[in-house]
Symmetry: C2
Subunit: 346 residues, 2 copies
Amino acid sequence: MGKEATIYDIANELNLSASTVSRALKGNKHINIETRKRVERCAKKIHYRSNSFASNLRTQRTNTIGIIVPRLDSSFMSKCLAGMEEVASENGYNVIISQSHESSKKQERNANTMFNNRVDGLIVSLTIEKNNVACFSRFADKNVPVVYFDRIPDKSESTCFVIENSKVAYDATSHLIGQSCRNLLHVTLNSNANVYRERISGFEAAVEANTGCAGRLLYVKSLTMEDGQGVADEIMKMEPLPDGVFVANDQAAVGCLLRLKERGIRVPGDIAIIGFNDDPISKIVSPKLTSVHYPGRETGIMAAKSLIENLNGDESFNYTEKVVLNAQLIIRESSQKLETNVKSDI
Amino acid sequence: MGKEATIYDIANELNLSASTVSRALKGNKHINIETRKRVERCAKKIHYRSNSFASNLRTQRTNTIGIIVPRLDSSFMSKCLAGMEEVASENGYNVIISQSHESSKKQERNANTMFNNRVDGLIVSLTIEKNNVACFSRFADKNVPVVYFDRIPDKSESTCFVIENSKVAYDATSHLIGQSCRNLLHVTLNSNANVYRERISGFEAAVEANTGCAGRLLYVKSLTMEDGQGVADEIMKMEPLPDGVFVANDQAAVGCLLRLKERGIRVPGDIAIIGFNDDPISKIVSPKLTSVHYPGRETGIMAAKSLIENLNGDESFNYTEKVVLNAQLIIRESSQKLETNVKSDI
DNA sequence: GTGAAAGCGCTAACAT
DNA sequence: ATGTTAGCGCTTTCAC
């Protein structure tokens, strides 16, 4: 209740100057250890708490990292965020998080809010909408580092943290082909975002690399489980039926898989299916879903670390344009048409 | 690059005083409309951005809400957070989020950081460790409202947002009994946290209300999928085998269910299973898991709204001790021993 | 309708 | 090892 204690109150109480108190509180080396002890005791006694605005106003630093993501309630994203928060917290930074909900307008508003809040650095994963990255260049102008992860801009000066989408898409598709699939389908968003574009190119490259294989794309509005069910209905109408389906995320893949089963299609017998992200559901659905493991936590950790190193003046990451993390195809039941070594794992 | 523009720069440029510029920027009524226009144009021209520290330092407000949760990467929690972020954002508040990782030490550190950062309000879900809620009373002392959700303190002055854990646990257990289960097992944490304690009491009440039923508790270290698998192994050793199992979350329930199936136990034929939270996996696992729908998003929205209304001086929530949201048993396949109307939903 | 002046609480030169 | 001083950028009385 009532007035806040300040360093002046401590200073008065102990007959010291404010600067000595300030130094003592920060653990400055030149301060007599006894003085420090007294200051700390007094601070506790009068319920002093540091006023970060005043401090920020002076130091022009906030110890805060801004994070803007499309949405935070996906399995993948919450892993990324958890990783970032941990690193930030270990290094004395706060994180402020906001969601763009895939709207580039909202994304811009969020960016401006972060800008006015003077975040020390920014971590962004872009919307799938056509992105106006201009709102982020303001940060660069003020020497506030920005890093991107997952959904990154087509070109930027910033460090980006991604996986090799085209390569793993290639691997996934090749795996289907290796399982004797010849009529391949890739279900994805009609988006120019790097992640989808690259998965498409990986898919197409694998199809082209194997004579006798046909590949086509099916675009969906979004990649929810419900969309996946709709996809299954579409698939049932195809002539001939595809025998291998690679879906751009696990939610949609699982929706599709379950609906196909309901319709009497055997998975993987009639149609092999592969998802993307290695969400928990992929290990739960029956048959277990082959998927691409996307190291979300690690991505978050790397992104936050690089940002913080940059803030601490360690420039090593400054010249790194792109950090590619290792994603990997996890083969489970849903794609194994041939009788090979079927691993089981939960 | 370089220096930040301040209101003084604008003032100089236009031959005004800083106070006039400040008023103009805030849309003060007494300012000449022409003056305001000029100020706004100039602000844009010289890339002025308001310095929130200086402003906060003066006004003693931050427009920031702190959120402390055990961890943010669970399905339930990310839904809560998404709801909170939305409400906050709509009302011009930022959210800063931190994880306690179930450590009350970390929780206290986080609380202190939030305290020093002068959050305008705080939203907390407690750790399962014995909670030292003292670190939160500092907020009340300074008239910073704190609300809790899900894991709430045993007693506090704050508004809490919860579901009726004991009631839904009672419902779940009764449902099992209605499905002819007589040997019941409740798998949960040995914790004094309200959520687990109440689920236990609901379970026990239902068992006692039905003569001829036996109930026992099985405590686990945590409620991960792996723990659920361990539970299945324990269950296999029980004599007699339980025929109805109510698990305190879906992760562990699914782990248990799958392992039981591997061991040749029929679910629900031999053992009926019910989980808690209605995570996405509950709809995916086969058989689909009966669970309790916990309205996470709504909980988050309610909590954030109440906090903000409180901050805006609307006291309506101030005297509300507890808001109980509606949770509901969702009956799926895993609990239906008897041939009744089996609903299917994804 | 606008200006002058003080001060929010802290930190960092500079001085001793 | 400690004190003095000035100022970060804004808001807000109080004056005119």
